[in-house]
Structures are given as C-alpha cells and as structure tokens.
C-alpha cells in the first residue's frame, strides 16, 4: 500500500478565494522565512519507517503567537528529526472563524496549520503552549473547528493526542477534561521522548489504541494523563484525594529540566513573519530560571534552578540570529537579565561587535539597580535608546518585604537618578495591587514613590520635562508559589484602591502632570485567578463560556466578565463551590491543592514556611530569602528532588570581534 494515499489535502485552495474578505489575510498564508514544510511521510525512508506528526499551537492570534519562543524552539527541535513533521497553528480571528464554519461545497473548513495548510485533526499530536490560562477558550474553539471532540473521553483512534505545556500546565486541572496529557517544564527533550513513544507504538501497529499509547506515556512519570487519576471531593468541597486509577501509574508527575543550555542553542532558524507581530526582534534567552525568591512569581518558582548560557554561546546566537532573520533589534531574555554572571562583558562585547551598525540591543527584564544604568548605556551606544522599566512591585517597604523583593527606596532613587543624569527623560515603574496583607496605605505609597522619582529626576537633570509612568497589574495567586494559599483580593476592592491612588496622583499640583498612570480593572484578574487555582470542576465553566461565544479572553475587547460570572454560576451549581471559593478564599495548610500531585520540585513544606515568613514580614519581622546563587542553599527542594544543579559562570571568556566575510 502506498503511504502517500493518506496524505491529507491542503485546505489552502478552499481558503484562498475567501482570504480577501478577512482582516490581515497574510497571517493565514504561512511562508515565513525559516519556516519548514516537510514531506508528510518523511519518516518512511528511515529504518523504523514511521513518521510522527505534531501540530503545535500557541492559542492566541498569530501576531502574538508567532514570536513565542517556546513554540519556535519546539518547532525547530522536532523538525530537525528526519522522522518528525511539525507544523504550526494559531487562533483564528472571529471573521475567519465565520468563513471556516460557513465553509464551502465540501463543508466547513477545518482548523489548519499555516505551514502546509493541513487539517489539525490529521496529525498524531496536537500540542498547545499555554503561557496564560486566558487561552483556554481558544483551545476549545480550535478543537471544535478541527473536528476533534472537545472531551478527551469522546476521542477515538483517529483523533490526535491533545497535549498541553507551558507555565499554565503546572496546574492543568481546569482543562483536564479537554486534554489527553500535559507536560510540566522545559519542552526540548520531552517532546522528543514523547515522539519516540508514539513512533514505537505506531511501528508496532498501534496495539491497544489510544488508551495504550497514553498509558505508555503516563508510566514514564514525565507525562501527566488526567484520565488515569481520580479526584475525590470531601463534604466541604475541598479535594480529599487524587489517586491513580490503574496499576503502574505514578502518584506524582515530575517537571522536566533542561541542563546545559549551551547544547540547545535554539532558535537557530528564527521565524520571520511577513505580518506585523507584537515582538519585532530576535530574542536570545541568556539564562533560564530565577532564584531571587519573589513570592508572587510563578515563573521564578517553577523554572528553578538557574541555568546560564555562556557568553560565547550568547554571542554566537546573536550573530547567527540577526544574520538569519534580518532583525536589527536583539533582546536578551530571561527572568532577570542583569543577573547573568557575565552580563557586563556580554553587554560590552556585543556593543563593541555591533558598534557603528544599526543593530540595537535591549534587556527586557531588569532589576532596580544602578549597575543596570551602566548596562543600559552600553546598549544604547549607537544612539537608540529604549525605555527603562523597573519593577519595585510593591509601593511600601513593608509590602516589598512581604513579597521578598528587597528593593529599598534608596535603591530606587539612586537608580533613577543615574538614569536621568545619563540623559533618560522617562522611566516606567511596575507595581502590583492586591498583594497579601495589602492595605490602602501600601498602594498609596506608590504615589509617594513616583513623586520622589520625579523630584529626583528634576534635581539631577535640571530639567522639567521628566516623566514617570506607573503601570499596575492586579496580583493573581499562582500554584507552586508561597502565595498559593493566599486569598485573592476581590475586584471591587482592587478597583477602589486603584481609584484612590489615581486621585492622589492627579490631585498633586507639583508632580501630578509628570506621572502617567496605567492600570486595568480587577475583573480579568479574578477570572485568571479562577483558572489558575481551579480544579477539574472549573472545566465546565470554561466549556460554558466557550459555548456562549467566549474567545480571546486575554483581549479586553473580547473578554466578558459577565459571561464568566453567569457561566460559573450555571456550571458550578450544585457543587457547593463557586467563583469566590476558588479566588478570594484563603487555603489552609492541610488542604489538598488541585496540583499537589504535580511535582515542580518545590517542597510543599518549604513553600508553607515561606508563606508564614511572608506573613511574619507583614507584621514587621525582618526575614529575607536571599538568592541561592550567591548565598547558601535555603532548601526549596528543587535540586535534590529533580537531580539538577545551578549552572552559572563566570567563564572568564570575552567576545572577540567578528571578522567580516
């Protein structure tokens, strides 16, 4: 039998006549520079004779999804194997959704990949990367458009294995009914391991069908298959236990940690879209993980330990990336970029290399630290000057102690003084509202800090055109953090506090006009909170919202709080729990949390002790968790539990000038 008989047809000829009628059609045509279209049966010529096919989705619009590093890396790592096909798909806008559902003489047009425009349902695996929980309704929409049953339980052997990854997958329970599997942590190695399991199963003739391939994935302990776990609820609505429901399935599923980032220098072939996207730059991840210990920060908790790329690899990746992409802006990414042990040499080395060219460098996440101004100067040598953003996160010293972000007022003032005296006219300050134990006074302290910043700026620069923009986000407690037990602040109080702050800033005659104020109302945060700390019962809410037309919940123009509230009322009726129970309720030490069976490596008792330290700090105790890169281990549990270790420099190497070919 010829394998090519089963090659799914491209839907592009069906799409093409309709493209002129939708907005920004270029986002649906693919053909990006460095994209890959492989033979559907590329594995046929390999010794095993089988091909494993992945459809990778970033469940948001193309303009947001295309630049996503995670998807780009996995797309490249998978396509490098001669027996794997990986293609990409993104959430389609409502105008395109209408066109697809309306369809043509052949019926509806299914969810397709942008690479070869193949139907998503034709792939073996459908992998979704969730940076945020607000993409869940887009997943349901994509499944439905693809013709894949929404519920994992209803899928047959012809349907792909639906797999979730990304930070939100550290608590996949709210989407447990819709995904077949979830993976925690770094994806580079595990996607290959999964591919191998699927290949072997296909080579053997798919014994035991879907159930068996999922069983094989689950027994490894590195892939979570929700259907193999039963959740039992207690009388009071809390979880009594989560237990495997068949032999051989491990009690806990562990996260994946990539060691030696120098061995994985991806993306090496950065995708360059024709359409405009949210990040028009080439980004190099200079290290992964963060051990600063900010208690609100889920990313910092779940990506431990710190693993640096060496200065040499970073230099090579920058040069390769700009030559392959043509981007002239380079971002050095990480959770706190100035913390790289050789950041000074990296900045100087790259500055020297690209002196006199139009290549510009930026350091997106930086701490409040005068040293960073020196770095910023290095990065703006060619005259381009990007904005400076600092994130004290908490307005009062007390608040910053509670979240373990130890930045003093003096630190901040010294830093901004350096910035303003070096010619910057504007800085941005980022804060959160709704942190545990927060009072009105803590939030109003943000205004004092902003005024101090303007006063200092006017003083050191001798000018009046100094500006400061204050951006405020609502705090959402996240799983696997010390604040996972905290009560989320209700959106009414959040909005009241922000209004008081805004009025205080506005009423100030001397400084009010120099301070910009950006914030969002608290309602989306409440829903993010529901999805972040929800359990399997929340799945019905997501489904109800999607059925009611909910899409693109991360976009304020599409998000409807009322829809979420009415859907939660309907879907949770009779369960004894509700929206408030999931969000504004503080949890107790012995409550079984929905994600307790998912192992981020963090010791739950350490997290609890850290939560108690936070509450003690709120009452004036002087406890600080210092960074374990430079001080002794504080026993968060990750390294011994995961068999990992901190990987940092310095290597002592320098970047050499490039010889032009």
């Amino acid at each position: 039998m010829s394998a090519s008989a089963n090659v799914p047809e491209s839907v592009f000829p069906r799409l093409e006549p309709r493209l002129p009628s939708v907005s920004k059609p270029i986002q649906y045509v693919g053909g990006e520079l460095n994209s890959t279209v492989k033979d559907w049966d590329c594995g046929a010529v390999t010794p095993e004779g089988e091909t494993v096919r992945w459809a990778l989705m970033y469940p948001d619009a193309y303009e947001v999804g295309l630049p996503n590093q995670g998807v780009q890396i996995l797309y490249e790592v998978l396509n490098e194997r001669d027996w794997i096909v990986a293609e990409r798909t993104y959430a389609v806008w409502p105008d395109m959704e209408r066109v697809m559902r309306e369809g043509d003489a052949q019926g509806p047009i299914p969810q397709f990949t942008v690479d070869a425009h193949r139907p998503v349902r034709a792939f073996d695996l459908f992998g979704l990367s969730f940076s945020t929980e607000l993409g869940y309704t887009n997943m349901l929409n994509a499944l439905d458009l693809a013709g894949i049953p929404l519920h994992a339980a209803d899928r047959g052997d012809d349907d792909p294995i639906v797999l979730a990854g990304g930070h939100a997958a550290f608590n996949p329970e709210p989407i447990a009914d819709f995904v077949d599997a979830a993976v925690l942590g770094d994806g580079e190695e595990v996607v290959l391991a999964i591919s191998e399991v699927v290949r072997e199963w296909k080579v053997e003739g798919r014994p035991g069908g879907r159930d068996e391939v999922l069983r094989r994935l689950a027994v490894s302990g590195g892939v979570y298959v929700p259907r193999f776990y039963d959740v039992v609820y207690a009388e009071d609505g809390t979880i009594e236990a989560v237990v495997p429901n068949r032999p051989g399935i491990p009690f806990r599923v562990r996260k994946h940690t990539l060691m030696d980032l120098d061995a994985w220098p991806y993306p090496a072939k950065p995708l360059v879209p024709l359409a405009e996207t949210v990040h028009e730059r080439f980004s190099v991840e200079i290290f992964r993980g963060c051990t600063r210990g900010c208690r609100f920060c889920q990313a910092g908790m779940i990506t431990r330990p710190v693993r640096e790329r060496s200065i040499k690899t970073i230099g090579d990746m920058v040069e390769n990336g700009i030559r392959k992409s043509g981007f002239e802006e380079v971002g050095l990414l990480s959770l706190s970029s100035a913390d790289h042990t050789e950041i000074g040499d990296i900045a100087k080395g790259l500055g020297d290399r690209y002196e006199g060219s139009n290549v510009s460098l930026s350091l997106p996440s930086t701490r409040v630290d005068a040293f960073n101004i020196t770095l910023a100067n290095e990065f703006s040598r060619n005259g381009r000057r990007s904005g400076l953003t600092f994130a004290p996160e908490g307005g009062s010293e007390r608040m910053r102690r509670v979240i373990n972000k130890m930045v003093t007022e003096e630190d901040l003032v010294r830093t901004v003084a350096a910035a303003y005296s070096h010619g910057w006219r504007q800085v941005k300050l980022y804060f959160m509202c709704g942190l545990p134990t927060e009072t009105d006074e803590d939030v109003l302290a943000i205004a004092d800090l902003a005024k101090l910043v303007i006063a200092k700026g006017r003083e050191v620069s001798g000018r009046n055109d100094i500006r400061c923009t204050v951006s405020i986000g609502g705090f959402v407690p996240k799983p696997h953090t010390p604040f996972q037990w905290a009560a989320q602040l209700d959106h009414e109080t959040t909005d009241e506090r922000l209004k008081k702050l805004r009025d205080t800033v506005r009423d100030d005659k001397r400084f009010g006009r120099a301070i910009g104020f950006r914030y969002h109302d608290g309602k989306p945060g409440t829903i993010e909170g529901l999805l972040s700390r929800g359990d399997r019962r929340v799945g019905a809410v997501i489904e109800q919202v999607w059925r009611d037309g909910g899409r693109f919940d991360g976009w304020s123009e599409h998000f409807s709080y009322e829809r979420w509230v009415s859907s939660a009322d309907a879907a949770l009726a009779g369960t004894g729990v509700d929206l408030a129970w999931f969000t504004t309720r503080e949890r107790e030490y012995d409550e079984v949390l929905p994600w307790d069976h998912l192992d981020s490596g963090l010791d739950k008792d350490w997290l609890w002790a850290d939560w108690e330290d936070a509450l003690a700090a709120a009452d004036g105790s002087d406890v600080e968790v210092e960074d374990c890169r430079w001080t002794p281990c504080y026993d968060c549990g990750v390294c011994p539990e995961m068999g990992t270790e901190i990987q940092i420099g310095p290597t002592g190497q320098q970047l050499l000038p490039l010889s032009v070919v």
């Binding site: 493209l19 053909g31 520079l33």
Partner: protein
C-alpha cells in the same frame, strides 16, 4: 544633555528595483512588504545609506504599491546606497534573501529624477468567475458610457467618483470557463483601482462577480497617449 547623532552621508548611488508579488504572498500588505524588504537588505548585507536622526532608517522609496491580495509582476522601488554596487550583484543577493513569492525581477542604476512620476498607468488582468457571454456586453456598455460613477469606502469615508475616465483600454476574453478582463488604467487622483472598474461594470453593465477575482498587475510605467501602450520605466 544628549548630543544629536551625526548627520548621515547622502547616498552615493541609487538603484531602481522591479519586483513581483506572486502566489500566496500576494496577501502581503504594503507595510508587510516594506518590513520584509528592510530585513532582506540587512540579511543580504547591501550597503545601504541611512537617514539621519535618532532612529536612522535605510533609504528606500516605494512607488505605486498594488492593493493587498492582488498579484503583481511590476512593483517598483528605489534604494540609496552608501557604496557603489553592481546592480546584478544586488539583484542576486536580494533574490536569495527574500521569501519565495516576493521576487526581485530586475535592478538597474537610477538615472535621476522621480521614479513615481514615470508610473503613469498600469496593465491589469482580472480573472473572473463569470461566463464570457455575460462579461462581453457589460464591457461594451461600460466603454460606451461617458462617466461611470462608483462609490468606495476610503479612510476619509464613503467617496463618490468616476471610474470611466481612467480606463484607457478594457477587453473581455474567455478563460477556463470564466472570463479574463484585460485592463489598462491611468493613475491619477482619485486613484481608480481594478475593483472600482468591477464595481462600475456591475452598476452600468449588471455584471455580478461571485467570489474574489484574481487580480494581476502585468506592467506599470509611462503611458503612450497615442497607442495606449505602457513603457518600461527602467529602460527609457
């Protein structure tokens, strides 16, 4: 105080480039194309001249871009270089670094003067999903009319204008069970586009076109008023 950045030197050479938008990349908008082109010249290491200021931009002037969704064999732009280059070397480098479907056809040294002024008219092919028996009479009625008023939504709101005067030539011929219109349009203000002519054919000739017709610009250049022929703007 920040110093003003150095003034950039003026270009030492200008090159005119003809490129094509083909296949699925015809859905590239003009803004999309200009970003892709800037990245391509950087990848190809073409020694561009830059504008002065805090945000120097490579010197590129675009002329008469085709609407998003229409294919074209004749789009033009001009670039300013900081070093003198062999146009053929630049052509090959750009061909290499632009995605397939955005294809550089020809590169020549600019003789001076304005490129945009040379682009007086365009030659279009419009492939329609209608029977030639319906299209023929509609074209005749259209050509017989003095004026053909149409409406189009512009950035300034709904506009009324005549689409007849800009039509230098229009003919219908059968093609693959449908109709191909052969159209020569004079550029002007307001600019009349092929879809305006289709709107005109609908209003005066009752020609209803289903689906989205494929529009292809074959040529763009100086118009010979005597013959209605379009010349080559790169070789005069």
């Amino acid at each position: 105080m920040r110093d003003q950045p150095e003034q950039q030197a003026p270009p030492v050479q200008r090159l005119r480039i003809r490129y094509a938008k083909r296949g699925r990349l015809r859905f590239t908008s003009h803004r999309d194309f200009s970003r892709a082109f800037e990245r391509a010249i950087f990848r190809a290491r073409v020694p561009m001249a830059y504008s002065s200021g805090f945000n120097p931009h490579p010197r590129i002037s675009y002329a008469g871009a085709a609407p998003t969704g229409s294919a074209s064999e004749a789009e033009y732009l001009e670039i300013g270089l900081a070093e003198v280059q062999d146009p053929e070397v630049v052509r090959r480098a750009l061909e290499e670094s632009l995605p397939d479907g955005l294809d550089v056809v020809e590169v020549v040294e600019a003789p001076g003067g304005s490129l945009a002024d040379l682009l007086e008219a365009s030659h279009w092919l419009l492939d329609l999903d209608v029977a030639p028996e319906a299209a023929g009479p509609a074209v005749e009625t259209f050509l017989a009319a003095e004026t053909v008023p149409v409406q189009r939504m512009t950035k300034k709101g709904l506009r009324d204008f005549d689409c007849r005067a800009a039509v230098v030539a229009l003919a219908a011929e059968p093609r693959d069970g449908g109709t191909r219109l052969d159209l020569v349009l004079r550029h002007g203000v307001p600019s009349v586009r092929p879809d305006d002519v289709l709107a005109g054919l609908a209003s005066v000739g009752g020609l209803e076109v289903a689906g989205a017709p494929l529009l292809t610009r074959l040529a763009q250049g100086p118009l010979d008023p005597a013959t209605g022929e379009i010349g080559d703007p790169l070789h005069r």
